[in-house]
Subunit: 413 residues, 2 copies
Amino acid sequence: MDFANMLSRAKIASYALMTATAAQKDAALLAMADALIERTPAILEANETDLKHARDSGMKRAMIDRLLLDEGRVAGMAEGLRKLAALPDPVGGADEMIKRPNGLLIAKRRVPLGVVGIIYEARPNVTADAAGICLKSGNVSVLRGGKEAIASNTAIVEALTAAALEAGLPAGTINLVEDTSRDSAFAMMKASGAIDVLIPRGGPGLIKSVVENANVPVIETGTGNCHVFVETDADLDRALRIVINAKCSRPSVCNAAEKLLVSRPIAERFLGLAAEPLRAKGVEIRGDKAACALIPWATPATTEDWYTEWADYILGVKVVDSFDEAVSHINAHGTRHSEAIVTENYTLAQRFLNEIDAACVYVNASTRFTDGEEFGFGAEIGISTQKLHARGPMGLREMTSVKYCIYGDGQIR
Amino acid sequence: MDFANMLSRAKIASYALMTATAAQKDAALLAMADALIERTPAILEANETDLKHARDSGMKRAMIDRLLLDEGRVAGMAEGLRKLAALPDPVGGADEMIKRPNGLLIAKRRVPLGVVGIIYEARPNVTADAAGICLKSGNVSVLRGGKEAIASNTAIVEALTAAALEAGLPAGTINLVEDTSRDSAFAMMKASGAIDVLIPRGGPGLIKSVVENANVPVIETGTGNCHVFVETDADLDRALRIVINAKCSRPSVCNAAEKLLVSRPIAERFLGLAAEPLRAKGVEIRGDKAACALIPWATPATTEDWYTEWADYILGVKVVDSFDEAVSHINAHGTRHSEAIVTENYTLAQRFLNEIDAACVYVNASTRFTDGEEFGFGAEIGISTQKLHARGPMGLREMTSVKYCIYGDGQIR
């Protein structure tokens, strides 16, 4: 099916989905989970085709690992859909209903966004994940994954759409863009009116390209140059546990710490405590002058380093002279994702919460908690680092819009 | 000051404004109102300069009326600022605060958007209005009005900034873009990172240009091709009052009705009732075949007409065979602004609320109520017709974002 036809069918399906009941949507999600399990052999066979191409073209091991499916991973995708079915329906109810002096009753009802485009890379599990979250929130999905995963994605979407159709949802509820050239991504970015919202999921290059080119509203997700600031009044043992956790528990993710700021009066003592445990975990340290003087094996950080999300076992370390310097440095170099202070000082803790401009600001906890599951949302489509519509972990509620429903009895103005 | 310097000063000011108290902001708003009154002579003199250019260049009367200021209009702008000062502060509090099983306390705090760009046309009252709404919600404003009003806007902003500075707010709280060429509007659209949100206020051409070109997140406002659907079970007297009000009370605004749909069984009776009162108000009717047969003085509507917002004394009239036809027509031709049904039928009223995809959906009331004041918001920056972030009338709350503030006691993951 060509792209224009797909989008016009998607828009029609979005009207049907707008009024689908939670029972219909949940039944479809459960059927989709069953279909993934039933069709596991076909999905793994398709994945084998993708893997062969990837190996032949010399793809890196880490990338191949993301592309790889096995029975366990397919079962994980199915389990994700079942968990979605068990969550409450985010649409249909009203956040509030007010009565105006003239008698008008105005309800602010939660409704689906409509047609949601997702542009992502070579992780086939995103396909089932994104299709499920969109469906649960009453949205039609238009999925455009990377070319490396096209066989896997096709097999997964075949399973999902067959199950959704059988469960009574309209054709066009879940759509896979078969053309994986740059043209198709560009066409999605320019589909104002046909696609209601576009969510890029992937590396900074992809996200930048979507933000630069889209005329469709975009929710920007994900880059995280996160800081932990160990302030003079920190409990240093607690600070050490938080720094090690934020840096080392999973360095490849966007909520991992990339930078450590330490107040000068405690710099020698804290870096003395932290350097060896970090080195033992395989962390490379890039420091400013003072940090390098305190950690002999550290290398000097470049200006560029302070802006960089390495997503790796690398930590930038800077010694700061004041609370204000730490805040200015974070607001100037951070990506507005997750920032943490460790301190026992009440006033400075409050000031950090007030003055840092980021989606998630922590006192005495690891930045690693910025996550839909950890926040109790039950599902997550990404972490928004913009300020419009959604900020921080985006759950089902963030996949909805509102509609004012106004009940009158003849009011005129 | 050049544009880049203005934006970097604006960003710095936005951090100060982020933590300003309501008392500080309200004092500044009151001082700004006083400054407008005090400087009325200078503002009117500047306005005279704009008016002279406008007349010399042959500007239309309606446009000149929008550009014109007098003592009463300046006093109205000041009064608007005083009303803002009296409203509750939309930022600082938290919508909710949850406690997670691990003890983390997560507050979803309301915060300003940051730096808000407003691109508008030749109405100088928007300058004070937008500056005031931005300030009350803790946002820095970057105002770029039309070249026709540049002298008036400069005088107004001089009054506002002097008062804001004296009230202790930072320089760069309110900014006027002095260059009124297309280049400056384009530079604002491309200022991703420096401007957090862009709101175009003006005609469809301006809005389309901003949506097409911006890489900054945009809130699309305002076009309204609104329908009133008079269904078979309508109370026809009530329907008549609503149609006349929706069409004639102020045809130039976006919440005025542009189209009337009538169910076939009552078409002859209702159009018999409505035609003469509409004609008496000076309304031109463009009908489909059935409507033209019933109203001899109506002219046939073109295909294009059904999509058009005339913002004038023109009404498109169509006779529909079913409820479904009316819903499909509205969803296909409307601009997702405001749509109304007049009916006594409970089930069809509910279905209309469910099935129409628009910011505001009415049962038995005029579309003219889509307005921040009428909704009780106290202030309005525009009507959003998009689904992301804000939909319908945008008040102070819609000028805010959220920030998760997380209170830990050593949690790691």
